[in-house]
């Protein structure tokens, strides 16, 4: 095994293990902390594929900002008492069915794709570097890029409007 492979398996085990821990924890604060671990592992995977910009932006945006806000909200809720309402048994059943359907669709979609012949190149390819990514985004994909930024702006304006109402 090369060092890349070792790192790959360690990161994979970390990602899957911590995401399992995340969905099985009772306390939402622990869930968020395990989710942060998952993000670290996934960022590591980006780094193995030499997608350095994605790696660092994933860390800044998800672990550094969004998860802090999650934690912020959860810490204000009193978690000492088991305040979570008991969920309906049928609701759980429906959730399991819906999740299973999603899994089925994803597996079916992946099964027929040519993903098996497109093995990820580790440690090579330089499209993930900032200069190349920026050139691709602002030349080939400039319209989708700008449209998605307008989408974000409208979400922000919407949040402010909803917040101002009360």
């Amino acid at each position: 095994m090369s060092i890349t492979q070792i790192l790959f398996w360690v990161l994979t085990a970390m990602a899957i293990g911590s995401s399992l821990m995340m969905i099985t924890r009772k306390n939402p604060v622990y869930s968020v902390l395990w989710l942060i671990m998952t993000f670290f592992a996934i960022s590591g995977h980006y780094l193995l594929m030499n997608a350095q910009f994605l790696f660092i932006v994933n860390l800044i945006v998800y672990t550094g900002a969004i998860m802090v806000l999650f934690l912020y909200v959860l810490m204000l809720i009193d978690l000492r008492h088991d305040t979570e309402p008991r969920k309906n048994k049928w609701l759980k059943f429906a959730g399991a069915v819906a999740g299973g359907c999603l899994l089925l669709v994803i597996v079916a979609a992946l099964k027929d794709s040519d993903i098996k012949s497109n093995v990820v190149q580790t440690g090579e390819g330089d499209i993930g570097l900032i200069a190349n990514l920026g050139k691709a985004l602002f030349n080939e994909y400039v319209v989708p890029f700008e449209i998605s930024s307008i989408l974000f702006l409208s979400a922000m304006v919407g949040a402010v409007v909803i917040g101002k109402k009360e």
């Binding site: 942060i36 350095q52 660092i56 800044i60 672990t63 550094g64 900002a65 802090v68 912020y72 810490m75």
Partner: protein, 347 residues
Amino acid sequence: MHLLAIDWFLLIEKAILILLIVTVCLVTAMYATWGERKVAAIIQDRRGPNRAGPFGLFQPLADGLKLFMKEEIIPNASVKFLFVLGPGIAMVTALMTSAVIPWGGTIHIFGRDIALQIADINVGILFVFAIVSMGVYGIMIGGWASNNKFSLLAAIRGASQMISYELPMGLALISLLMVTGSVRLGVFVDQQVNGVWNVVYQPLGFFIFFICALAECNRTPFDLPEAENELNFGYHQEYSSMKLGFYLFAEYINMFISGVVMSTLYFGGYDIPFVNEAAFGDVWWIGALEFLALMAKGLIFVFIFMWIRWTIPRFRYDQLMDLGWKKLVPLALLNMLITAVVVLWRN
């Protein structure tokens, strides 16, 4: 079997470098506590620590010993694992930024070219930014795990303050990136060694960055997370012994590192002012001098931080948020706009 096909000398070299840089950071932070007291004493017309050793120089050692000897208390109602993890995260995130800072030029020792930088990664400045944004976890986890309402309030203040000031900091960095055209810290310094310091191009950007650095280090006038008169002692109220020491120590490391980062970004990094280093050729002591130049610049910033602490009173919390969101963000946006126009016009 090529299990670890690594250049072992590189590994050893980097390990020594990491050890050295971490030691330098820790010792500097240790003596920054002594410096803080001396600066405070001079500003308040006192003598400051003068009992332990000449000029009170052994005071930090005595303080460290005191912290180690104190009884370690973990509150019964706390979340034990996270309670211990909090100070650790604070310390690690404080030290990790030092990995991408170029501490000096390349020196030749034992027939090898050794760059005085642990990792010259492609996303250098973004890495610094990521670690800074990670620093808030130490405070939040510690404050929450203490299971004390004052700690929690302080932790939440700290988190919102840090997130608020990351924004103008990022915007100030974007305008700097427009001027430099790279995110690699080595390139930043090379350009400044051969040309003009970035602060000449980006005075407003530096001003914004400096204020945000104060806020990110939780220094006065932004030390709301540990506002004693409102929150007893802030997020580390339940901590004792060296765990408290870690929190206090991390603040000084953060101060030093942010001073060094500001020197690297805006004040030429390891560039010795008014001296053409290349004229001396490849001699080993020029590398040492460059390192000392960077240290001096960083320490000047640490001194300015202390000076501000002992002269400016603390903001009220709403004033802090107003300054961040209503003044610094628009100012940083304006700076970005002007920079963009100038860069386009010059091209």
